[in-house]
């Protein structure tokens, strides 16, 4: 037989597209042609596959061979096709039963000696295989745990090409590695909220932000614990649901950030890009097909921008649409990809460029101070519900009361999240931060007496209409934390207090 085909998966963002690989062996000078828009890495598969086939003790057919990757118009790249290419070739040469390659997806990069190397994007690839009804997948052993996260697909792990060929020839006699029982994810060292000294206001703001899913801005002099608080925020968030965990893991798989020890990400990720990061690093980019950026890696977790006033204005502006839509759409040469980007934003900034421990010692000109935080554009800050100014720590922790630990606060946060979820069930929102203002003002209208503080502030021009909506959202979260089914006047006052009027 001189014609055979096998199946592989092309990655398009976090979505996989099934690719049929056809191999034809015909008369002519020996050589291998590959068609179907391969990129450089895929074109080099020619040399990898040849060496791997020869070093696995197989014959390299001395004929004119053509490999076609279909759909032919979809640009394909990367090294994950190596295994499928070599199996299709050997099947066309009659070395492997061709019908065994039907209903089977092969994923893996080949080393020259025939070993199978792990590739990125195995999870989305297996998901794509399941979607079109393919029930069997072979992956490198290193990716076995990641691939086995998908239910309803028989996943096999192989260490080298020889092993796969043996299994294809004699499926009953040889057995490929099967995924082991799911290992409990090793508990990440959670930083404890108890480490943070004083800062009652800011601690409370972090708790509210975690409970309501609100974006948060912390301003204050250096060394007051802004970064510490932000890092402890992920510890307060609930563990990811199964669906969320798969979404997050898929993004990290495409970005090539998964380790064999932790195939499934079950805790909200914490991503803290440096303030010199480019737009492409923040929202995703790269040539050909865009790769995920920080905002997608922080999907369902926390994106922490430390020294946010030092970020380039273009970088910050680029964050606006992803935050609004919960996803990024990036157009590059090879097409448009969508990455999820539903993350919680935590911003930290000094109040001014000189940033003395006590603000009274500031030597900055008033215009410099105004310009500094003025770099945070209005549209971005519009999305930030909570703005807290932190004060310098005055006490080294000999204080009588031990600060509350993460466990205590987390329990309250989880309870508030449950309450919010129950209220918004059926609306598509799960946290208070996602609910639009008009809904809060109409469908969940509060009595006039309760909203009195907001109305008064609005009347005196202390808050804008948008600020009023934001305060309302916060009031609901405060009420959730207090265990009330709707906010009272004191919750609204508390919410007003959480919005620092001095911060922009």
């Amino acid at each position: 037989m001189s014609l055979a085909s096998s199946w592989a998966v092309a990655l398009h963002g976090v979505d996989g597209v099934l690719v049929e690989i056809e191999a034809h062996i015909g008369p002519g000078l020996p050589g291998l042609q590959m068609v179907g828009l391969p990129d450089t890495a895929l074109s080099e598969a020619r040399d990898r596959v040849r060496a791997a086939v020869l070093n696995s003790g197989e014959r390299w057919p001395p004929r004119r061979m053509t490999l076609a990757l279909s759909p032919a118009t979809l640009p394909k790249g990367g090294s994950s096709y190596d295994l499928a290419l070599s199996c299709a070739l050997l099947a066309a040469d009659g070395r492997v039963p061709a019908q065994r390659l039907q209903g089977l997806v092969l994923i893996g990069e080949l080393a020259l000696d025939g070993r199978l190397r792990r590739v990125r994007g195995v999870l989305p690839a297996v998901l794509a295989a399941r979607q079109v009804g393919i029930g069997e997948v072979v992956v490198p052993t290193a990716s076995l745990a990641e691939a086995s996260l998908v239910d309803g697909v028989r996943v096999h792990g192989a260490t080298c090409l020889k092993e796969v060929l043996g299994w294809l020839r004699n499926p009953d006699g040889t057995e490929l590695a099967r995924p082991g029982p799911p290992r409990p994810a090793p508990l990440a060292a959670v930083l404890d909220l108890g480490d943070v000294l004083e800062q009652g206001d800011a601690r409370w703001a972090v708790e509210v932000a975690a409970a309501g899913g609100h974006h948060l801005l912390l301003t204050g002099p250096p060394g007051t614990g802004k970064t510490m608080l932000a890092q402890r925020m992920v510890g307060l968030l609930p563990a990811l649901t199964n669906q969320e965990a798969l979404e997050v893991t898929a993004v990290h798989s495409v970005a090539g950030l998964l380790s064999p020890e932790t195939p499934l990400i079950t805790v909200p990720p914490f991503v803290a890009p440096h303030h010199t990061s480019s737009v492409a690093a923040l929202v995703g980019g790269g040539s050909g097909l865009a790769k995920p950026g920080a905002v997608s890696r922080a999907h369902r977790g926390v994106l922490f921008l430390d020294e946010v006033a030092e970020f380039g204005p273009r970088s910050l502006e680029a964050l606006r649409t992803p935050l609004e839509d919960g996803e990024v759409r990036l157009a590059r040469r090879d097409g448009v990809v969508r990455y999820p980007a539903r993350c919680q934003l935590v911003l930290a900034a000094n109040p001014c460029p000189c940033a003395p421990p006590d603000e009274r010692d500031c030597t900055c000109a008033p215009s410099a101070r105004r310009r500094y935080l003025g770099r945070l554009s209005g549209p971005l800050l519009d999305r930030v519900d909570l703005r807290v100014a932190m004060r310098p720590v005055k006490d080294m922790g000999q204080a009588d009361a031990e600060p509350e630990s993460t466990a205590t606060v987390r329990a309250r946060v989880l309870q508030a999240r449950v309450a919010a979820r129950a209220r918004w069930v059926g609306t598509g929102w799960s946290t208070n931060a996602e609910v639009p203002g008009p809904v809060l003002r109409r469908r969940f209208r509060l009595p006039r007496a309760v909203t009195e503080p907001i109305a008064a502030a609005l009347h005196r021009g202390m808050v804008t209409a948008r600020g009023a909506d934001r305060t309302l959202r916060l009031a609901w979260t405060v009420a959730d934390l207090a265990g009330r089914d709707r906010p009272l006047v004191e919750d609204v006052s508390m919410a007003m207090g959480l919005r620092d009027r001095r911060a922009p």
């Binding site: 008369p27 002519g28 000078l29 020996p30 001395p62």
Partner: protein, 132 residues
């Protein structure tokens, strides 16, 4: 003997052996073509562009043959060493041959004859018709 002279001697030994192998392969190839009923018109025809191994005809079609002989497949099949540069050179030489013998329009086929002469074992001739 001087070391360099020794190396040169050694090289020329290898060269001679591979020349012999090539000639043996070309003889085998010519016999093979004759056995198929083709008439060999030229052998090792040279011009300033290069050389073609065999030019034969079956009465209708001019068959230009490149003969590749190897004693083993350790460094790949014989036919694998016919690269696109070599194919282009053979085409140029063929054009020169056609000019030299004032042959008009005719059908031309370029074949590769891969001759494998293992030191122990039978000789095989593989015929790739219309290889390029």
């Amino acid at each position: 003997m001087e070391p360099t002279a020794q190396a040169a001697q050694c090289r020329s030994d290898i060269q001679r052996r591979s020349d012999e192998l090539g000639r043996r392969g070309e003889n085998l190839a010519a016999d093979y073509l004759a056995g198929m009923g083709l008439v060999v018109l030229s052998r090792n025809w040279r011009c300033r562009e290069g050389e073609v191994d065999l030019i034969a005809t079956d009465g209708q079609c001019l068959v230009v043959c490149e003969v590749k002989t190897r004693s083993g497949t350790g460094y790949g099949e014989p036919s694998e060493s016919v690269t696109s540069a070599k194919a282009a050179r053979i085409r140029r030489v063929t054009a020169a041959w056609l000019r030299a013998y004032r042959v008009g329009w005719c059908e031309i086929r370029f074949d590769v004859l891969a001759v494998l002469c293992p030191p122990d074992g039978p000789v095989t001739v593989e015929h790739l018709r219309g290889a390029f």
